[in-house]
Amino acid sequence: MKKRTSFFSLIKKAGFYMVILVILVYLLFPFYWAVNSSLKTEAQLFMTPATAVPRDPATLEFAPTLQNYATVLQDNQFLRGLVNSTVVATATTALALVAGSFAAFALGKLRFRGRKPALYLILAMTMFPQVTVLAGLYAVISALGLSARVSMIFSYMIFTLPFTTWVLTSFFKGLPDALMESAQVDGATPFQTFHRILLPLTAPALVTTGLLAFIAAWNEYLFALTFTSIDPTARTVPVAIAYFTGAVARQEPFGEIMAAACLVTVPLVVLVLIFQRRIVAGLTAGAVKG
């Protein structure tokens, strides 16, 4: 009898890890193909059938090349792009999280007139396609006389601020009102209640929205392309990659693009690895009782 249950639990466990394996393959295989392509030369890329690892076209032996990575890492524009992207995405995320969590606390936990219109006004900010608002946005940016990097940070608010505000509002709403009331009884001002008690409780939501907003800002292309047109030194990674030129005129350096994409994804994965613990650490032992 006992043996049987352990046998079943073993099967269950194996099944569970099978599911995880399937998910991982689904999510990572296309990225593996990017890594694979980044290690191929031009000739290897055009081999038929496509090979799952870089192979020599004649002998079919395993023959990866690091040439694409070398080229990318010697490209000053790309390296500068990494710095620019980091600065812009970090500042965007910080601003969107601060302004977003303030607004979200008001929208999720306080009673005031015009709550719903405010909620929809903030969402309306992001309901136009980027191309449509570009001309008007460009006019605003030039009127304010902002530098390229600052204009990217502000224009990225259009898609990050509504996102952080809405996600955090829904999480604040989910926190029990009793929490606020008991803090108020203890003599805490509403703002103290907000940043000492409620904010730490929403840590999983803060980290999650922060990561998603950071990546969205990191990957943005159209605004970056437009606002760095006057200042090429401010180009972010996606724009720098778009400006890659092949050895032969008008030929797209696909291997190099893939190498750059892989290089750029690594710091993001490291970032997630650092912050992911926070996603779980949000609600520790019984913070919400009663």
């Binding site: 569970f16 890890y17 999510l27 990572l28 296309p30 990225f31 193909w33 890329l45 055009f46 059938p49 601060v98 302004a99 303030f102 607004a103 008001a106 306080l110 009673r111 005031f112 719903k116 405010a118 903030i122 969402l123 900010m125 136009f128 980027q130 191309v131 449509t132 001309a135 006019a139 502000f154 608010m157 259009i158 601020l161 996102f163 505000t165 996600v167 829904s170 989910g174 999983p204 980290v207 999650t208 998603l212 990546i215 292309y221 778009a242 696909f254 750059a260 994409a261 750029v264 994804t265 993001l268 994965v269 997630v272 690895l273 992911q276 996603i279 779980v280 949000g282 609600l283 919400v288």
Partner: protein
């Protein structure tokens, strides 16, 4: 008399309590306003003018990047985009014999040409499709069939991909939410598709879906012996939308999964413990506790995914070029290709309205945001 007396203090209490309550409420209102201020300043500074300009421009005939004088044209842009017309087509009759004319190849009845029947004023209508109803033949015409197709493509794309993302994202979030070894690494790996730069990801998939054995998928299908000749996934035809949906689902499922995971993480564990004690099984717990508690996070995730999907641009532009449009890539074509800024703005407003309708119906359907 006695009743009147007992009423008096209550009435008094009601009146004395009111100003006190409103004082507290006023303080709360003031705090809310202060907290909203940073967001409102950003909106006013960055978003107000561009958004207002799009609405205004949609009623004009403004030309992009030119000094040409613009004039107010009312709803003309919207009329040009959305006008549709149904016209009956008469069967063709042989003038000599007076019999119905049939197609010599297929033997089917021939009808008048739609182009002769559809209205030409004030704007020319073009054929969208033909259909039979009660034995009569009709043609559905539109002034801008490309846009109507773009709407159809985008809405179909949105509904299917968001639904798949919700299901997959929920499954992944539930798996990652349980405790197992390498959970941290799994959480990082899970975000990889979302982290790959969008423009590059579109190029990467275009390469993988290449219409020859240079592409991964055709090599694989060929190796399995499933196809005789390479499949042109991205050429006009039945594979276009499914291919794009597959790419979008791969790329954005992590977004959905992570938001739902955060929702799962903020659920108090004691509810589940209590349910366990009451003898509720895992499946019952999922439907009775997890799903209802997850609703708010789900609505927000759905709204933002739908919003992005309705504005989908990159993958249509990079992978399909001008063979098939989404609303946003048609918008781009009208603005950059035709420099028709008025019309492009009207498309923007139509997308805006679509998103608004979707967002409102999610909130209503899920019963979120009820006071």
């Amino acid at each position: 008399m006695a009743a009147k007396n007992s009423n008096a203090p209550e009435e008094k209490g009601f009146f004395t309590r009111k100003p006190k309550l409103s004082k507290l409420a006023r303080r709360e209102e003031k705090l809310a306003l202060k907290l909203l201020l940073p967001a409102l300043i950003i909106i006013t500074l960055i978003a107000f003018y561009p958004l207002a300009q799009v609405f205004y421009t949609s009623f004009t005939d403004r030309v992009f990047a030119s000094g040409q004088e613009t004039s107010f044209v009312g709803f003309d842009n919207y009329r040009r985009l959305l006008s549709m017309n149904i016209t009956e087509l008469e069967p063709l009759i042989d003038e000599v014999s007076g019999e119905l004319l049939l197609d010599p190849d297929t033997g089917q009845q021939l009808y008048e040409r739609p182009i002769d029947k559809l209205p030409r004023e004030p704007v020319r209508y073009r054929e969208l499709n033909q259909f039979n109803l009660f034995g009569k033949r009709y043609v559905l015409g539109a002034t801008d069939p490309n846009f109507i197709d773009a709407v159809k493509n985008t809405v179909g794309f949105t509904v299917i991909s968001v639904l798949l993302e919700l299901i997959l994202g929920l499954a992944i979030a539930l798996v990652v939410n349980s405790k197992f070894a390498f959970r941290g690494a799994m959480r990082a790996a899970m975000l990889v598709p979302w982290a790959v730069i969008t423009v590059v990801s579109a190029r990467m998939w275009e390469w993988m879906l290449a219409p020859s054995r240079v592409g991964m998928f055709n090599s694989f299908l060929d190796w399995l012996g499933l196809v005789d000749s390479p499949v042109a996934f991205l050429a006009a035809g039945g594979y276009q939308l499914p291919a794009l949906i597959a790419v979008d689902v791969w790329k954005t499922t992590p977004f959905m999964a992570l938001l739902l995971l955060a929702g799962l993480q903020t659920m108090p564990e004691d509810i589940f413990e209590a349910a366990e004690i009451d003898g509720a099984g895992k499946i019952r717990q999922f439907f009775a506790i997890t799903l209802p508690l997850l609703k708010p996070a789900m609505v927000v995730a759905l709204i933002f995914r739908t919003l992005d999907a309705l504005r989908v641009f990159d993958i249509f532009q990079v992978m399909l070029g001008s063979s098939t449009y989404s609303m946003a890539s048609y918008n781009y074509f009208q603005l950059i290709g035709n420099r028709n800024m008025g019309l492009a703005s009207a498309i923007g407003v139509i997308i805006f309205i679509f998103i608004f309708i979707f967002a409102l119906s999610y909130m209503k359907m899920m019963g979120v945001d009820e006071e």
